[in-house]
Symmetry: C2
Subunit: 405 residues, 2 copies
């Protein structure tokens, strides 16, 4: 007997027929002799509708009331799935976040899980009941409903898996696993059987939308084995796991990209100590996320400073920079037509030349690199947006990721 | 300073604009220097949608899961109204039933309120916050969400008013008060300024749909002054109150009617002790509500026994009767084309001849009476449905209820 947590997203529970279909999948797992807890999202469209209501009344609404409103979507799905499971002859009951309880911090609207008391859920599962848990929510220190931010149901599922010491957490979604890159761009993209937590984390934060970043962090921290798989077919998915579980580790596991990038360049800045601090301090204070940073000293006593941020924050970032730019400089330029392409793989920790392969592949296609940024297991470059597909296809081939035709 | 509870039904909070309109009404009450608690229903259509989901999955769904699902409608409205109130510059917070808590018995789907702890709500109101309470729900002894049955938000409002010792409970609805009879039938029907609990209770249980019967019972028990008024205009409504508060008591306050009636007649039953017990015992066991009962002995040693039930329960009632009819009888007949018309007034306790006026008015129009049933403050007759409007108009005139032209 194993203990399994299953998570179904909004499209998987989008209508009554799909909820009944999910019930059959849960039953199949129970029929294998397993104890099952299920975490569900709101039916697709519901959360958007509720958010829209709040925003229509007040753009800057009270986040505590927002939480009380939007958390209901998952509560509805959990009750309906419990009914559907009972209809198949299973014992089942629904759980709202506050009933378990899933306690969070007080950051309403984007709360973080502080702890989960698994006692009641485990007792219910051991008595033969499927536990159907409303995702995306908990209860804050003020005894009010809190939500985890969009996509938070993934995090709920992983946290529940950790709390009940589950053998595996299956995240059902509308894709059938994690691919070497976006199959819409590279038709030869392959589904990965396994991927490490570290790689998945980079994938998630670099724009692959399969799993919420925070859920991967939590899985890594608690060593929860997470499987990403499709709720619309019966194929095995991709297992996110410890490096030790992966026998044959590839050099590079995948190519990720993000179009939500914008570049700001400060040109001809008088070179003196404290320039960077004078700019990035105020940006941090304004809660603007800065990603890549490059500074080049030049011979005439001036320097060029470039950084990237998300496109939606560009205007705000520019305003902050202009207000705080106390050092003489020639000009400030911005560019929204840029994209970040990243090569990811834990294999590069022990292999030299991975970055070089990237630079050569891009140079061969005549693609100019604006900025380079590296970490232990990834190399990211910023390039002009028009080269996105060309670059991704070239890199996918260069690292030998293409599936056999 | 007064303490006021306001309740707004589904049509009053049917969309965002209406919720904002409700917020203005609440603000007007706060601006008068009053402490305000607001009880809200689900946005119109939402509860039906949620009930429909449950029923689609399983006709005989688990009532506990049904409660978890349908209670969310009111939670959404309460959060949205709190946001709308804050947008008008008021302090406000939403409360789900379990947060107050409103504790109920374990009869999920049609739970009864056991107790309300008013402490937190009163503290919140005294600190200057409007308390926005999700109607129709509480928390059962199993620590799970319970609902009070359709229309239960009226009961929530009255119960909250009792718990916080409110000076008045204003029930906003889509009619502007309680009328002497249905204005769609009698154009000269008048809105009543005041009506006693007892009369309102008869009105409610006799088919006037202004207030849920249980909420009137609770108001009477706790002596909560209830005002029924329109959320779409600024006219004063009808105050439901103690008899002492009504200076000039009319003989008859109103004419009510109910079309949901069906008649069952057992013809030529051999007259012996225990016949009634042998029939009505099993009907009670089967949870079938029997309203009027008449038995006439005849000279040949047989008797006719007639009773009424609601139309939807007729088939079930007939089945129970046939299964338990152990006494010799000639036949059983049923009639769905009947209607109950009632004359209501606490004044008739001290005045003779009220029933006689009714019988004469009906006879003058050639309307045959099938069954008569009386209580201290009402006289009800069962007549053929085709005479409904004729009878109501005749009685309205006979008791001098017509408004001056």
């Amino acid at each position: 007997m194993a203990r399994i947590v299953q998570k179904f997203g909004g499209t998987s529970v989008g209508d009554i027929a799909r909820i009944q279909n999910v019930a059959k999948r849960v039953k199949a797992e129970v029929d294998r002799g397993n104890q099952v807890a299920v975490v569900v999202s709101a039916m697709s469209g519901v959360t958007n509708q509720l958010v829209d209501y709040c925003t229509k009344i007040a753009a800057d609404h009270d986040q505590r009331e927002y939480d009380a409103v939007v958390a209901t979507g998952e509560q509805v799905t959990s009750g309906l799935l419990a009914i559907a499971l009972q209809q198949l002859g299973l014992q089942a009951r629904s759980w709202a976040g506050w009933q378990i309880p899933i306690t969070t911090d007080g950051a309403h609207g984007k709360a973080r899980i502080v702890s989960i008391d698994g006692t009641e859920i485990i007792r219910s599962m051991e008595s033969g009941h499927v536990a159907v848990i409303a995702g995306f929510q908990g209860i804050g220190p003020d005894n009010r409903v809190s939500t985890l931010g969009r996509g938070g149901s993934d995090t709920t599922a992983v946290a529940i898996a950790a709390a009940v010491k589950a053998d595996r957490c299956d995240i059902y979604t509308d894709v059938d696993g994690v691919y070497t890159t976006d199959p819409r761009i590279v038709s030869a993209a392959r589904k990965l059987d396994k991927i490490t937590y570290e790689e998945m984390l980079e994938m998630a934060s670099l724009g692959a939308k399969v799993l919420q970043t925070r859920s991967v962090e939590m899985a890594m921290k608690h060593r929860v084995r997470v499987q990403v798989l499709s709720s619309f077919n019966d194929q095995p998915g991709t297992l996110v796991c410890d490096e030790e579980e992966i026998v044959e580790q590839e050099l590079v596991s995948g190519i990720a990209y993000s179009r939500d990038e914008a570049k700001v360049t400060l040109i001809g800045v008088q070179d003196q100590p404290g320039i960077a601090a004078g700019i990035f301090g105020p940006l941090a204070t304004a809660n603007i996320n800065v990603d890549m940073i490059v500074q080049n000293a030049s011979s005439d006593g001036t320097t060029d400073l470039t950084f990237t941020t998300s496109r939606s924050e560009l205007d705000r970032a520019l305003k902050v920079v202009k207000e705080n730019m106390k050092v003489p400089h020639r000009s400030i330029s911005t560019d929204k037509n840029v994209v970040k392409v990243s090569v990811i793989g834990v294999g590069m920790r022990s292999h030299a030349g991975v970055a070089q392969t990237m630079f050569k592949a891009l140079a061969d296609k005549g693609i100019n690199i604006h900025i380079i940024s590296t970490s232990e297991i990834k190399v990211s470059v910023l390039i002009s947006e028009e080269y996105t597909e060309l670059a991704i296809r070239a890199l996918h081939t260069a690292y030998g990721l293409d599936a056999a035709a």
